[in-house]
């Protein structure tokens, strides 16, 4: 029920005032903007990027830098559209990155593995990947039924949709939801235990 409690207690940001203050050169407004949107930007960058892409942090910084720069220049004519602007910037930056890789020949037909991509001087990123890998192994090991492990692989790795997975494995959608929900919850618990997930 943390979800609901937070939903009731959350304070919405006054986007119009925030945009105006950034355009007026108020540095504290920039900090407020980053605090308000950083987590959401990161979540969306990960959502739109390839899984476990080690360049996520850089993309998040690119998005925030682009946004702050544009807001300083008063480029957003309708401040009420700030969430749309943030979201479209995320999509633009992520798409541009993969387009750039495509031009370098690192396209989908010959993709590198997550571990092969550049990750210079970032032991924390390497550690996080190891934690993710270890946690997911444990999540899979804790699923007592092989069919439930197959649900996760089909859905997340093969990107089969819910109905396809349910039909192939002869399970009902309720069971599908339950497997995913418990796997997500367990994954979060394990990452919290290891201190690398947000509470």
């Amino acid at each position: 029920m943390q979800l609901n409690a937070q939903a009731i207690g959350q304070v919405s940001v006054d986007h119009v005032a925030l945009v105006a203050r950034i355009a007026a050169g108020d540095p504290s407004a920039e900090t407020e903007f980053v605090l308000a949107f950083q987590a959401g930007v990161r979540a969306l960058v990960r959502r739109h990027a390839r899984p476990a892409d080690p360049i996520i942090d850089d993309l998040v910084q690119d998005v925030l830098h682009t946004l702050i720069t544009r807001l300083r220049d008063n480029a957003l004519h309708d401040a009420a559209t700030l969430p749309a602007y943030v979201r479209s910037t995320v999509v633009f930056v992520v798409t541009a990155e993969y387009r750039k890789r495509g031009r370098r020949g690192e396209n989908d037909s010959n993709p590198p593995s997550p571990d092969d991509l550049p990750d210079p001087d970032q032991p924390d990123r390497h550690a996080r990947r190891e934690q993710l890998r270890g946690s997911v192994h444990r999540v899979l090991a804790e699923l007592s039924v092989e069919r439930d492990r197959e649900v996760l692989r089909r859905y997340y790795l093969k990107e089969e949709d819910r109905d396809t997975v349910c039909t192939a494995l002869a399970i009902d959608p309720d069971h599908f939801h339950r497997v995913l929900h418990r796997a997500r919850t367990r994954m979060k618990e394990l990452l919290l235990e290891r201190g690398i997930a947000n509470a």
Binding site: R46, R47, D115, L132, D161, A183
Partner: protein, 223 residues
Amino acid sequence: MNRLPNNHPLSDWLERAWLQRYLERKLSESEAEWFEMYLLDKPHLIAVLEADNDLRDGLALAAAAPSGHGGVSPFRSGFGGGASKKPRGPAMAWAASVVAACGLGLLLAGPLSIGAGGQRAQIIASPERVVFDTLRGVDSPPLVYPGAAASSHVLVDVGLPPDAEHVTLYLAGQAPLALKVSPDGFASFLLPRAAVGKSPAPRIEYRRGGAVTSRTLDIPADH
């Protein structure tokens, strides 16, 4: 669809319905775009999305590792981020949340309406909500979230242990009703406001590890 009604967030249950469809990639492109704008400054939604991202990333890393499970390459052709791709499910018209509200409303209202005499289930746009959360302890009072003043029903959510089975609701003067448990572990039902405070109070029963557990739901009448 670029403007967001940030001062008017969705009700919790409707938000959950949207979130679930988003995570399942069942929203149309424009719906997913809208929901991504909506969730951007909402930590509780971001936390769920990040848990999903972690699971996806972890599976990809495990599959890519030499000792991993299955050996499926996470970067196979066409694998480029779920939300950026055109969704494969049928489009769900946005229409001010009506579709999701109807779907869930019918699901929730159905059993009670049948029990009340076979009347057609009503769509309850924003009912008051009473949450019995196991995390707060069985004896703690429920959380009450106000809804629309004109709502004729109260939405009751009951948190259940993950292994609870055969969940049944007992209401005075009605046949027992089997309840479904949501993926996040809640059984929900709509209770006519007129029935709140009447004796005996609603009771929920479930099986867990072979034992039957019964829980009386004392719903505050003055909320």
